[in-house]
């Protein structure tokens, strides 16, 4: 059962990501990516992390991707329309030169490493109370800094989107 669910979610996650990188129109890329992110939330459920899974759907597939889809539809850019190239040749060469060896090394490292099997998780692993306790004790300082970062990002976004650059 676990294996079947894993292959189901993993294939949608990878397939959606592949489509997102291959489709021509940005809107279709974004929609494929949303499918990929929802499937990733399924993988988080399989990893016994319900709170991150819910955050993934609410924040990633929900808030962030909806923001991006809004901007894509708002700009309604034609430069990615069929007939015009959206591929950088230098980038393609660079991608093959760097990423093929990198991927080979990483995947070999993962499958050759002596990784422990996942132990049975305790009942409260990855739940909201357990994560809340962790966030507000060990990770309290980073958590507070994070709120500052979000505030700065919000102010920066308003300023950038408003100003006319000359």
């Amino acid at each position: 059962m676990h294996d079947a669910l894993f292959w189901f979610c993993a294939s949608i996650a990878v397939g959606g990501a592949l489509l997102a990188m291959l489709r021509r129109e940005p809107l279709k890329c974004a929609l494929s990516l949303i499918a990929s992110f929802v499937a990733l939330a399924g993988l988080y459920f399989l990893l016994k992390s319900p709170f991150p899974a819910v955050l993934q759907i609410l924040l990633y597939a929900g808030a962030i991707m909806v923001l991006i889809v809004f901007v894509i539809m708002f700009l309604n850019d034609e430069s990615g329309a069929p007939g015009k190239g959206d591929i950088s040749r230098g980038g393609l060469v660079l991608a093959v030169l760097i990423l093929v060896p990198l991927g080979w090394i990483l995947i070999r490292a993962i499958w050759n490493a002596d990784l422990p099997m996942m132990p049975a998780a305790p009942e409260d692993f990855g739940t909201v109370p357990a994560m809340g306790e962790k966030l507000f004790t060990t990770w309290l300082y980073p958590f507070e800094v994070l709120s500052l970062l979000l505030l700065a990002a919000m102010a920066g976004a308003v300023l950038l989107a408003k100003k006319r650059l000359d």
């Binding site: 990516l33 990893l47 955050l55 700009l75 430069s79 991608a95 990423l99 962790k134």
Partner: protein, 99 residues
Amino acid sequence: MDPRPYLTVAVILFLLGAAGFLVRRNLLVLFLAVELMLNGAGLALITFARMHLSMDGEALFFIMLALAAAESAVGLAMVIAIYRNRHHLDADKLDDLKG
């Protein structure tokens, strides 16, 4: 349960994002590629958290999520500003800093 398939999926997602970032030229698609790379990292964090039964990985995932939100807010504002001034979204034409 074996953690290796999960980590392999994380690596594939990261590499797809990196490849998309290098190959594509539309700024919005570059943006999606960055999100994809972040998600690959997130899956690796959750997998390692589960493997070591340590909630720290999930706290880091939470931080990654807030980081992605901040990045998308600022990044999209920059995309809008660029589109207003240049009327295109082609990353290869934005080479003013080349000198």
